[in-house]
Symmetry: C2
Subunit: 454 residues, 2 copies
């Protein structure tokens, strides 16, 4: 038999997260408040607990993972590194394709890697309740699960259109004990204002963020949690790449190219940062390593955005951050990879791209589902639409290898399963999916609204 | 950290399935044809390939698993044996609860353990096409996946009411390339007859079986596949228990009691038979071992049925088999564990129960969902409604241990995840589930219709 899965033992779960900031030649630019000055930890403490703020600001290379968190991780981690042997055969490529499969978590994606420590550090800091927003529900499910593990009540503001169209992720959150509200609600001022303007408001991620932040800011015992973009979220996700490195060592290989889907950036960071650490350390195996963030052509933040200070949310309530952005009021077309419909990208990933330490590419929607189906038929696993973006890029690379004859080692982060996205696959099979044109005019317009700095 | 998952390596995937017939003191009674004589392999060869018929009739203790099958198994096997540590803590029990988790397969249940070898042996026997029926879709998904792996087209007759109410399992089957039909169809005589009588016929498993068997019988290149009940299906599932035994050896423990949900019986057989082998061999660790099949109170085949010859299907097209049965025309109430709504039970399991080598117990619907939610909150994984039956029994045993103070080692087969059953959880949370009364009158009536033998 050809080895298909590289497994590690429970003791191989990393003991520390890797903080890439320690290897930055130029320190990251700070987030700025409404007064144009860097935001202080004290200001952020209204909605985040101190241990997470310390991680957010830290320049320390290794940050210890508490045993309590590793004990929860042990439920599904180390996640498998799998050889996509049947996919290679179907493609007829000399490349070796490996995927790190994060769909094995109870919530079905990589998101619990950060939800669990966020709940833990909130718990030890004395937080009594968590709030968050969720779109399609991947993050909401993960924080509901994590809150349950540490006995913390969780309130999730779920975008109303998703609440109604994707009821089963709501059911999962409720199974894990979370309270789920269709946003906009009558509970918050932001929600009431929106409903006063339009009683049929279907909600948006930006509005749901406003509701969740408002609740957290109003109650000193309640904190807000976010599933991507911020430094500490990316930090937590590095368990993915740290495990992958150990798994490659076990089989005596090293990747030539690493692909990951990229929306806010947490899953891409998770798989790529630990390999970039090798590059920073001058490890010869990593000299020619390429790390490629893959985004939708319809929301081309990294490939078509500006590198500028902008708000993290649509309404402009958050501090401004230096990042690639399409403008905070850019509204991407309704593609099915809801997790990749974000106007910005993590400041850390943005800086890496700006300094040419990573690459970015964009792929169109129909091709991502085509890749997802090809992957499902060869490997069995039906990937989430977000994951299909990385898979599309990995397949394209493998096909280039077929022409060039190069036996490259390709690694792709398959971030989750598509069990709650089958209606999107149905639309693909029915020929009802669109490849949206590059939304040049909308982006040009929203880029006019970047905040002025300095 | 406390060890949570017992993992094995790819090379630990069993090389042989265990055939419990070799350890039967009394040979199993043969299935009988319409003439009252034992059915010959030649008669069955109209719908099954010879290699599977040989397994069906075999009394050989160990049957080799082909490398091609083990190579596909390696995608997700060996499946993890997990310690339900947080569940133990939540219950405050001195018992140690372990679960074998079969939801890690791409189809999300234990069913591919048999679907893969069934597709393989059909392939090498020259079969060109497979047919099957499916209710909620667990088996249909598994055979669609397996057919895809071996390049065999698959046609699935899916009970119409499920086709319409559970569209996402249909989407999965289509993603893996299967053709899926809402049964009754116009394709078969059985379907046309049913539609002529009632154009709004919503279908039944019995009718879907008739359609799938008719297609297979009509074409010498097409074979029929079944997901439970038959000896060869139970045989394939023994990989579950064989792995579990190796995993317990790795941690130096042995179970005191083994629970598995039981409908047709394949998942219960899978976990229990390899432990019964120890008992048959006089292994002292197994002297007091109990194996308990758990069924719904609303479909109490093993606990309230007769041990008699009966048809395997509702319409009476199949050979008759000696088994516990509620009568082939018994229609169980519409509980949400669709996989446990079967009037009979595997002849092998029936004989074991009749000879008092295993036990059976029944649990009511609402309590199974209560157990499922408790399991989900403690362990993260949201179990399928079928799996909730075994979990209910395991929790009850652990609670008895709390009273008695016995530190028993409990093993339960968690056969699949509930990602496609969230609407059932919704109904549970909304208080809309029922505990059906024991359907005594309906059973008494259907037992009148048992075929006469001899």
């Amino acid at each position: 038999m050809t080895p298909l899965r590289v497994q590690l033992e429970q003791d191989d779960i990393p003991t520390h997260w890797y903080n890439i900031v320690a290897d930055f030649k130029n320190p990251p630019l700070p987030p700025l408040g409404p007064d144009g000055n860097p935001v202080s930890p004290e200001q952020m403490a209204a909605i985040f607990p101190m241990p997470l703020l310390e991680q957010e600001m830290s320049a320390q290379r290794w940050i210890e993972i508490p045993d309590e968190v590793r004990q929860i991780y042990a439920q599904w981690r180390p996640s498998p590194l799998c050889r996509a042997l049947r996919l290679e055969q179907a493609l007829g490529t000399p490349a070796k394709i490996f995927y790190k499969y994060e769909g094995v978590s109870p919530a079905g994606s990589h998101k619990p890697n950060s939800a669990v420590p966020q709940a833990y550090f909130n718990k030890i800091a004395g937080t009594k309740k968590l709030t968050t927003e969720t779109g399609a529900g991947q993050w909401g499910c993960s924080i509901a699960l994590a809150g349950q593990m540490f006995g913390l009540p969780v309130r999730v503001f779920m975008v109303k259109v998703s609440y109604e169209q994707k009821p089963f992720r709501r059911s999962m959150m409720q199974t894990w004990g979370a309270e789920v509200f269709a946003s906009p609600t009558n509970i918050t001022q932001a929600g009431r204002d929106a409903l006063a303007k339009d009683p049929n408001n279907q909600g948006s991620l930006g509005l749901a963020i406003s509701e969740a932040v408002e609740e957290a800011a109003a109650d000193p015992n309640t904190c807000y949690t976010l599933g991507s973009v911020l430094n500490h979220v990316l930090l937590h996700q590095t368990v993915i790449g740290l495990e992958a490195k150990k798994q490659f060592e076990k089989i005596g290989l090293y990747p030539d190219v690493v692909f990951g889907p990229c929306g806010g950036g947490s899953s891409f960071a998770g798989i790529a940062f630990p390999f970039l650490a090798d590059k920073a350390a001058g490890d010869k195996r990593a000299t020619n390593l390429r790390c490629v963030a893959v985004e939708p052509t319809s929301c081309p933040t990294l490939t078509k955005g500006h590198y500028a200070y902008d708000y993290g949310d649509v309404s402009g309530y958050t501090p401004i951050m230096k990042m690639y952005t399409l403008g905070h009021d850019f509204m991407p077309p309704g593609i099915h990879a809801g997790g990749l419909r974000y106007h910005g990208a993590s400041p850390l990933i943005s800086q890496l791209l700006h300094e040419k330490l990573i690459e970015a590419q964009s792929v169109a929607q129909i091709g991502t589902f085509e890749a997802g189906v090809q992957f499902a038929c060869a490997e069995g696993i039906i990937p989430a639409p977000e994951s299909c973006h990385g898979i599309r890029a990995a397949i394209d690379e493998a096909l280039r290898c077929k022409i060039s004859g190069e036996p490259k080692v390709i690694l792709v982060n398959v971030t989750g399963h598509g069990h709650f996205d089958m209606s999107s696959y149905d639309k693909y099979f029915a020929g009802k999916l669109e490849d949206y044109d590059y939304p040049a005019e909308a982006i040009a317009n929203s880029l006019q609204h970047l905040p002025k700095v300095g």
